[in-house]
């Protein structure tokens, strides 16, 4: 067991993957000498060289497009997109090539590329640095989309993502990079939770709270607060947006009868819509209240001084729980 921050845990996970497999390489803007704007790749270029930790030209389509080509040649590139709002120049490569090459070639081509994207807001940034675009990728068949919420998961999930034969979008919770926790680096492969499995973080009986990535801590805080008022919330960390582990959530909802979801991603046409649609179907007879969703508003992410009113807050989560309990 080691105590690490999430950013550090990803760094350690990358290092472990690079140590294990010489065909793993990193690409991105400023990931070399600088170690990335969040220092997630700190020290890796020094240790693995410029051919395996590649500072690239300032072009996201270039990063993803050439990563695809390297993957076709047998490498396993891990690309850093500097911030969530800068993934869009790469959208064509992600959507029309990365996601589809396996299907287009009827399984003959593999493009095991990982795209690491610092995601979500809450760090007082200027525009384009605080977005949660995950549903755009989750809707795109051929991609997998995951989001760790703890150092332990960050450490293992990045390695699982790299090991996956499918392309994986790996969303890193920007405002939790510095959140510390225990990492068990000694697990045997079989002991690690599968990449796409949701995890019940706190048992509860009155309602289920589902979150992922940066909102998982919020959900846990909400459960703690609610407990002080005598309400027992079960907290499920989704961990994966595509695929969705509907079963774990459904089992919880069948017990609690109520579901509140929390995401930084805007609610409207957002990732929790799918979860709500599936839960209302699979738990139709267990639900005692409609599924409630708490998320970002349907607005361009606002200026930093207002972001606390944009992001789901403890108040909004507890309000939604109250409404659910009252229904």
């Amino acid at each position: 067991m080691e105590t690490m921050a999430i950013g550090r845990a990803i760094n350690a996970g990358l290092r472990a993957a690079m140590d294990r497999d010489p065909r793993v390489l990193l690409m991105g803007e400023d990931i070399g000498a600088l170690g990335g704007v969040f220092r997630v790749t700190d020290g890796l270029q020094k240790d693995f060289g410029e051919d395996r930790v590649v500072d690239t030209p300032l072009a996201e389509a270039g990063i993803v497009g050439t990563a695809i080509g390297m993957a076709l040649r047998g490498f396993r590139p891990v690309c850093e997109i500097q911030f969530n709002g800068f993934v869009y120049p790469a959208f064509n490569q992600i959507t029309t090539q990365l996601a589809k090459l396996r299907a287009r070639s009827r399984g003959r081509l593999s493009v095991p590329v990982v795209l690491r994207i610092p995601s979500g807001g809450g760090i007082g940034s200027v525009e384009h640095h605080s977005e949660s675009p995950e549903v755009l990728f989750a809707h795109t068949a051929g991609l997998r989309v995951v989001a760790p919420s703890s150092p332990h998961d960050a450490y293992w999930m990045i390695q699982q993502a790299i090991a996956s034969a499918d392309p994986v979008l790996f969303l890193e919770p920007e405002r939790r990079y510095w959140q510390k926790g225990e990492v068990d680096t000694e697990l045997a492969p079989g002991q690690v939770t599968p990449l796409h499995k949701a995890r019940v973080l706190r048992p509860g009986t009155d309602a289920t709270l589902v979150a992922y990535g940066p909102t998982t801590k919020l959900a846990l805080d909400a459960a703690e607060t609610a407990a002080q008022e005598g309400t027992e919330l079960e907290v499920v960390d989704l961990r994966s947006i595509s695929p969705l582990d509907v079963q774990t959530v459904a089992e919880s909802v069948r017990r609690t009868g109520r579901l509140v979801t929390v995401s930084e991603a805007p609610t409207f046409h957002g990732p929790m819509a799918e979860l709500a649609a599936r839960i209302q179907e699979s738990c139709f007879y267990s639900l005692e209240a409609p599924v409630k969703r708490v998320g970002g508003w349907h607005l361009p992410y606002p200026a930093a001084r207002v972001e606390e009113h944009y992001l789901p807050s403890l108040d909004r989560v507890l309000d939604a729980v109250e409404q659910s309990l009252a229904a």
């Binding site: 993803v64 390297m70 029309t96 070639s105 009827r106 003959r108 034969a165 796409h196 595509s242």
Partner: protein, 398 residues
């Protein structure tokens, strides 16, 4: 670069001067040409190449078969056997020349019209036709053939091509001097594709990383209905300057010149000399695809003028004049073309539609529960309606 009809190459009866007056567009300053539209062989010390009669006949044969493949495919489309066809008539020299220039280990990243390059590599023509029948997105094995799937998103194959080259570098398969190990990449794209931002990024990345990539741009003068002047105010090969790599303009209807230029560029790339941009100046003789109607946007006169520059005619003229073609060869080739046509017709009509459930197989390498669930749902409904077909109330699509 010099360019004169001299030495062992006979001056054509018509004489190049008169011909140039008639067709002023063929010869451009700075354009590499070894065989002009009258079948006259020109010398160019920088780009000249020595081919055996066998090799020359081989190029001719391949171009003739490629054209037959194209016209047969067009006919199959007209008969409803293919959903669509993207014809390659007029581009035989470009595609066969580039295809032949590549060594077997060189990786090709074709666009959707590069049939000749694939045939030169040895791809089964039926594996191309299956795309246009709507069976799959290419029947060949891209790994076995070193040919990437056709890419329909304009320019989207270019960055992956560069990345592949960067992978080759990391594999140490550049500059070793071992001709079977050193590897290069050819990215095929059109004049229209040069306008895409990704095309510019691809050139830049290749230059920055000195990747072993030949950018083979077939400027066939049109992107569907838009003339190349709408894509760029300057000749396309000049894009190379801005990107920091050599740019070469080659007569794309001259298979010798294309072969020579692309071969040199590939040699350079394999040796670690970095990327080259080749503009192959040619013409799309037919419609963009069988869905297109070129009478809406271009004049017959333009097509007629280019017919005079036909890549196959000029090679035939030259080979005939050189005494390298005889009736027996022509007869054999005609028979081979017929056999190809029969094989295509039979092969296409024998093609089986894919098993619908197979669409669920390859979206992911590893299980995706939602896809699995959808597959099960699909299968259940499929079996159900198979049963209903005999007794059931509704069927068919909207």
């Amino acid at each position: 670069m010099t360019d004169t009809a001299v030495g062992p190459v006979r001056a054509h009866a018509d004489g190049p001067a008169r011909a140039d007056e008639q067709h002023p567009t063929t010869r451009q300053p700075g354009m590499v040409q070894l065989l002009d539209e009258h079948g006259v062989r020109h010398h160019d010390p920088e780009h000249d190449l020595d081919l055996t009669p066998e090799e020359l006949r081989g190029l001719y044969r391949e171009m003739v078969l490629m054209r037959r493949f194209d016209s047969e495919a067009e006919a199959l489309q007209r008969k409803g056997q293919l959903g669509l066809w993207a014809g390659s008539r007029g581009q035989e020299a470009s595609q066969v020349g580039a295809g032949r220039a590549a060594r077997r280990q060189d990786q090709l990243f074709p666009s959707y019209r590069d049939h000749g390059a694939l045939l030169a590599r040895g791809v089964d023509p039926l594996h191309i036709l299956s795309i246009f029948r709507g069976i799959d997105h290419g029947g060949w094995d891209p790994v076995e053939m070193n040919v990437h799937p056709y890419t329909l998103v304009i320019a989207a194959q270019m960055l992956p091509a560069v990345g592949y080259g960067m992978g080759v570098q990391r594999d140490g398969a550049v500059g070793t001097g071992d001709p079977d190990r050193d590897t290069a990449v050819v990215a095929f794209f059109g004049d229209g594709a040069t306008s895409q931002g990704e095309a510019a990024e691809a050139l830049n990345w290749a230059a920055v990383f000195n990747a072993p990539v030949v950018f083979f741009c077939q400027n066939n003068q049109w992107a569907i209905s838009e003339p190349v002047s709408r894509q760029s105010p300057v000749p396309l090969h000049r894009r190379a300057e801005g990107a920091g790599m050599p740019g070469v303009l080659v007569d794309g209807n001259d298979v010798l010149a294309v072969l020579s230029v692309v071969r040199s560029a590939l040699d350079r790339a394999r040796a670690g000399g970095g990327p080259t941009f080749v503009e192959s100046f040619t013409f799309r003789m037919g419609a963009h695809t069988t869905s297109d109607d070129p009478t809406r946007y271009r004049l017959a006169a333009e097509v007629d003028a280019w017919r005079e520059k036909d890549p196959i005619d000029r090679l035939r003229t030259y080979l005939t004049a050189e005494g390298l073609l005889d009736e027996e060869f022509e007869a054999e080739l005609a028979a081979e073309s017929e056999a190809l046509a029969v094989r295509l017709r039979e092969g296409v009509s024998a093609m089986q539609d894919p098993d619908p459930v197979s669409m669920f197989e390859h979206a992911y390498a590893e299980p995706h529960p939602q896809v699995t669930a959808e597959r099960d749902e699909f299968l259940a409904a499929w079996e159900q309606h198979d049963a209903d077909l005999h007794a059931g109330p509704h069927g068919g699509d909207a």
